[in-house]
Amino acid sequence: MIQFDGVGKHYPTGVAALQDVTLRIESGEFVFLVGPTGSGKSTFLKLVQRIERPTSGRVMVDGVNVGALPPADVPYLRRRLGVVFQEFKLLVDRSVADNVAFAMRVTGVDPIEIAPRVHWALEVVGLAGRAADLPAGLSGGEQQRVGVARAIVNLPRLLLADEPTGNLDPEAAWEIMHLLSAINLRGTTVVVTTHNPTLVDILRRRVVALNGGRIIRDEHRGLYAAAR
């Protein structure tokens, strides 16, 4: 699903965010990307979404060479991805259902199709009963569940979550991780960046650790920190 071949990303400021990263994530995998702030986790996700281009190497996503993709084709790549953000990024003046529907409407989906799929996505995240509420009326965990519903409503083959539990209490963080695991069980590839050792250590999924822009560890049923 994702293949990085010798990927480097150097910003004009001179910062080397990623250096010679080679990694393969298969379809249907659940991967934690861990590492300290500035280790290159966010840059990794930006390269997958083509928010940034690699300065060296090749990034393949779902069979597409993302770095070489013409700008006009980028939206069609992004329609195959779902993204969950640490800060939720919900539109505060729209209802829960409208926030989820937003991802469908702006990609030109037939309006007839929107309502049933939004209902399905909200059922998956357990918020079908809160469809008409505004985000301000929801807890942090609930807001992030709306973010997850918005990310899955277009049925992505790949779900990227950038610190999805960073702003949540432990209980809400668990709910989000269970949700992402359940989505992964249906075959969606899930890549999660996190600073939360507890979640990583309990779930025991593949862990890719980055430091200074390089992969320092890649374990299939890994822990947050390297085993001593």
Binding site: A72, R78, R79, R105, L155
Partner: protein, 320 residues
Amino acid sequence: MSIEVSTPPRVEADLSRSRAEAPPRWARERVARAILHDALDGLRRNGLMAAAAISTIVVALAVAGGGILASANLMHLASILEGQVEIVAFLRDGLSPADHERVLAAVRALSSVRSATVVNKTAALRRLQRSFGTPSSMSDLLPSNPLPDSIEVRVVDARQVRAVAGMVGRISGVEEVVFGTPVVDRLVALTRAVRAGGTALAALLAAASLLIIVNTIRMTVAARRQEIEIMSLVGATPGFIRGPFMLEGALQGAAAAALTTVLLVAGYASLAARVSTSLPFLPLLAPAAVLPAAVAIVWILATAVGIGGSMIGLRRYLRA
């Protein structure tokens, strides 16, 4: 905690479609409808921001429109002043009426001449009597009419008065040509300054309005950057993102232009009416003569800059 992800409802849209495949007509119509819907929805949701933007644009447009009206009137004033410039060609004594006609035809044949009329000595004396306020007594005091026959010439462009006077002076039958040399020179300098000042005023106010409008629209776009960012990240095409914002910019511009039209028309009509009664010597252009052009410029400026401002505002958020 147990979470089960059910099978999603079947959806007809193919999300993996690539740009290379041209969208069918129904899809294009759907996008057009969505853009219109989103533009109206955007204005409704951001009503306060839109109202603030429209108010600011109205002020900017009213200033620009006022500048255009002031400029047009200054140009008009310059034309009127220049129209007063006159050359008087005194004719040799003893010419027959046929000679008068010949000289008149020769004067009128000059390309820079706007009008020329013969004033015979009797008419000249009557005019003199009127200007001194002495009815018929003056002719009684003089043994004969001392005034010569003349031709009064008006030129197309006051700057050409010297050249025209020279050409008229060379026509056979013309004794002497007079025009107020220093006055004409000063007048030409004055009208040139008035014209340049009027143009500069209109250009300056239009440019200032342009900047204000572009910045106002940019601010309305910036206030919604999260919405734009989400649209971009979930795979909305740049055209789909731009469409509603450009339409909103155009609608805001049009709404502001409509309000400005009301202000300009009512304001200028009222000013023209007051001036015509209180200051009748001030040659203000009639509303019908100047308002259509000023209003047209205001509409073009408002809608074009509304769209342009949206595009400029969006540019920084739509870099792929």
